[in-house]
């Protein structure tokens, strides 16, 4: 444990920890409130910002309703395919490009960097993208969601910067030993780049997990819709069901269902973060040093 050297530093530590605790509370409290709402039976739901309900009164009915919905597993599967498939495509496309642009001796490197920046600075817009995707016949194909964002330019540059920080000596030694560039990439560079791979991978994965807009645009087949679209439909249904004759979720309050849907969507990503947090901090900082 580090010793606190002076009174000033002690005060600084107190203030800093206080601020961080406040920020933490700002993040945690709404989340906790949402969780409490999702497990609270209707008659105990109150308009006040209730943070505690006796656990003996908790009900998991809202979660049970969602998980037993006929389309849930289907949409969950689609989301997993989109996330893992999209992630594989992202890394497959981003890593080689980032590596190539990190090699200082690459002919035309400056021009290639500039070309890579163009779509970052000038977004072509929705309609050209739509025309390209539909022109390729990708409508009603999960690839329509995975391929268009195959390379996130910002992610690629962060990764490139990370690669550039790896001492050149490693690569030079491999080249002297006769290794090809692919060999160097996969056997030398990537093993040293676990933090950035996990970090960028997480960025990509979260993006794919939350895919909502592109699926409703390109996936007309409802059987291909991912979880966010289903949850959105369910929530819309909850609103309109108030006006119709039957209510799919009549046993649970709307507030609990909405809260549960938020939690269900967040849960997988919340579970992933702690495992890679160590690498995540290192990766996100290390790649951002050089411009």
């Amino acid at each position: 444990m580090r010793k606190i050297k002076s009174g000033d530093e002690f005060v600084f530590q107190i203030v800093m920890n206080g601020i961080l605790a406040l920020v933490l509370a700002l993040m945690i409290l709404p989340l906790w409130r949402v969780f409490i709402l999702s497990v609270t039976p209707f008659k105990y739901i109150d308009s006040s910002f209730g943070l505690f309900v006796n656990p003996l009164r908790w009900t998991s009915e809202a979660y049970a309703q969602f998980l037993s919905h006929p389309s849930f597993l289907h949409a969950f599967r689609n989301s997993l395919i989109i996330m893992f498939g999209g992630l594989a495509i992202n890394l497959f496309m981003t890593v080689p490009m980032a590596y190539a642009l990190s090699v200082r001796s690459l002919p035309g490197r400056r021009a290639l960097n500039f070309v890579a920046m163009v779509p970052y600075l000038f977004n072509p817009g929705l309609i050209p993208s739509y025309l390209v995707v539909t022109g390729l016949g990708l409508q009603d194909n999960l690839l329509a969601v995975m391929i268009p964002g195959a390379i996130g330019v910002a992610n690629m540059f962060i990764m490139r910067n990370f690669f550039m920080e790896i001492p050149m000596d490693f690569m030079e030694a491999a080249r002297i030993d006769g290794a090809s560039e692919l060999f160097i990439l996969f056997r030398v560079v990537l093993p040293l780049s676990v933090p950035i791979m996990l970090t960028i991978g997480l960025f990509y994965a979260v993006g794919h997990w939350n895919e909502f807009f592109t699926p409703i645009l390109y996936l007309n087949d409802a059987n291909l819709q991912p979880l966010p679209v289903l949850l959105r439909n369910i929530l819309m249904g909850l609103n309109t069901n108030e006006y119709v004759e039957y209510d799919t979720f009549s046993q649970v309050s709307i507030q609990s269902l909405k809260a549960a849907s938020i939690f269900i969507t967040m849960l997988p990503m919340m579970m992933v973060y702690p495992w890679i947090q160590k690498h995540f901090v290192k990766g996100s900082l290390a790649g951002g040093i050089k411009g």
Binding site: H69, P70, S71, N233, E242, Y243
Partner: protein, 520 residues
């Protein structure tokens, strides 16, 4: 590793090739792509083996490709905008009126007047209402097919009769009566629990488009008592203007301010939270409100209130009469679920096939199949032709969760007739054995005074609609909450602020359009 990369590329190429081959045409049949508005947003589409597809193929010679539109209007608009911009609109698609007018002016949707004679039954049952047809008419031509939309006049004022009885109060008729009842509900412990925990009025700040800006629809019966419900005065061309210019509107704001200051309205009213509002009436927090009949009285929606207050009872009452004799439950605006036919489809010669499909949906076969499923499996008909579930397995009933995809097209066939209403809103027994009839509330509201305001749906929002609406609502709310003093000067400043945001120009443009459409 070198071997794995080409293998992945080959796999990607195969996927692309598979996708490219998906658009093949079906020989001998007319392909019709329908983007339908979902009836049950969470239920998903009919399965591939839905008997309807087979009938449509065999009898009509149509290969129907059914796509369910996104669940929200915003997402629907985005999807249609993008496909319109890329000239890839489907053959037949559900669309809201604003978007329809936009793409009709761009020449992307076809007039449908010449399709109507090809579907005589459907024209009679669906497209014979002049008010609805006006919603889709542009320069004398119909650019959309306006199916009967949601039921009209479905909301109204309701009051806790058990509370009235307990306090020995008569049903209020005037705004003054209602005010006194609200005071009593707040101060005289109408639920008898010994706590000071009830209010007279309940509401929430419900505002969506320009036509419901301001306090929103939940307060229309109060504004209606002053003769100024909604945003506009549609009484005549000479009187057409924003209601806030009418001195009676300020009187209505004064009334709401008084109600708020005396704390006889549930204080959560100023938040735009419908779920909260509905949770609170089910928890017995207030005794007077303006509510939609199904949200109040269908079994699924009434059950929580019923469980909390087995002897509680809401009754519908006429909207209160104001100081000058005005009374209104709110605005009566013609509604429709609109379908449009793309110009591309007509150019490809698909017009007659589309008409044939829609006409089939209006025949008995199409109506019952799309509306209720397969007879004998998902429902039965009694001697009068009404739907019954007698002898139908609950798992197969058309209302069962697993069966809901079978009736995703029901909004294209429903016409709000007695057959539908009887099964959509069945009677049931409440916890204390009382017969609950949701339709009785609707029938009461339908016969209560409303203010005709079809023109509200025709007024194009100004480009600064968000700023306009925000300024309007924030100021009204500040007046009502007492945050801004309400006097001649502050009210005059408010009106000047509205004019500075273009209120006069908006009135002028709207009036010209409504006169042109014959709505004033």
């Amino acid at each position: 590793m070198k071997r794995k990369i080409p293998a992945t590329l080959v796999a990607l190429a195969l996927c692309l090739a598979t996708a490219l081959s998906a658009g093949a045409q079906t020989k001998g049949l007319v392909d019709v792509e329908l983007w339908a508005l979902q009836a049950v947003t969470e239920a998903g589409p009919p399965p591939a083996d839905w008997v309807g597809y087979q009938i449509i193929r065999d009898k009509l010679g149509i290969n129907l490709k059914l796509v369910l539109q996104p669940s929200s209007f915003t997402d629907q608009d985005t999807k249609i905008s993008v496909s319109a911009a890329s000239n890839s609109l489907p053959d037949l698609f559900g669309v809201n009126r604003d978007m329809l007018m936009k793409i009709a002016r761009q020449g992307l949707v076809a007039p449908v007047d010449n399709l109507l004679p090809l579907m005589p039954i459907r024209t009679r049952t669906h497209y014979s209402d002049a008010g609805r047809n006006r919603l889709v008419t542009l320069q004398g031509k119909m650019y959309g097919l306006p199916d009967p939309g949601a039921m009209d006049r479905v909301e109204g004022v309701v009051i806790r009769k058990d509370w009235l009885d307990k306090l020995g109060l008569p049903v209020p008729k005037t705004l003054d009566d209602l005010y006194k009842v609200a005071q009593a509900f707040t101060t005289k412990d109408p639920d008898g629990n010994g706590k000071d925990d009830t209010y007279g009025f309940g509401a929430f700040f419900e505002s969506s488009g320009l036509s419901s800006a301001g306090f929103g629809r939940r307060f229309d019966y109060i504004l209606g008592a002053f003769g100024v419900p909604g945003v506009w005065n549609f009484e005549s061309a000479a009187k057409f203007q924003f209601n806030f210019r009418d001195p009676a509107f300020r009187d209505a704001v004064e009334f709401i301010k008084k109600v708020n200051a005396e704390k006889i309205i549930d204080p959560s009213w100023s938040a735009p939270n419908k779920d909260e509002f509905r949770a609170r009436w089910k928890q017995g927090k207030f005794g007077i409100m303006w509510e939609q009949f199904a949200a109040l009285a269908t079994k699924a929606n009434y059950k929580d209130f019923d469980a909390n207050f087995p002897n509680g009872e809401w009754i519908a009452i006429n909207p209160p009469t104001g100081p000058k004799g005005y009374s209104s439950n709110g605005l009566d605006i013609a509604q429709a679920r609109i379908y449009a036919v793309s110009q591309k489809a007509v150019k490809a010669g698909k017009g007659p096939a589309i008409a044939k499909l829609l006409e089939w949906m209006a025949t008995d076969e199409g109506y019952y199949l799309c509306g209720f499923g397969v007879e004998g499996v998902n429902y039965k008909k009694d001697a009068k032709g009404f739907i019954t579930m007698d002898g139908i397995s609950p798992d197969n009933a058309y209302t069962a969760k697993a069966m809901q995809p079978l009736t995703q097209l029901r909004n294209m066939v429903y016409i709000n007739n007695d057959i539908e209403l009887a099964v959509r809103y069945p009677t049931y027994k409440s916890a204390n054995g009382k017969l609950m009839d949701p339709l009785a509330f609707w029938k009461f509201f339908k016969n209560s005074p409303y203010t005709e305001a079809t023109g509200a749906g025709f007024i194009d929002p100004p480009t600064n609609v968000n700023d306009f609406k925000r300024f309007y609502e924030e100021n009204l709310l500040k007046f009502a909450l007492g945050q801004t003093e309400l006097n001649d000067k502050t009210w005059g400043d408010f009106v000047k602020g509205m004019d500075a945001l273009g209120a006069k120009d908006i009135e002028k443009t709207a009036k010209a359009k409504l006169v042109d459409a014959g709505l004033l």
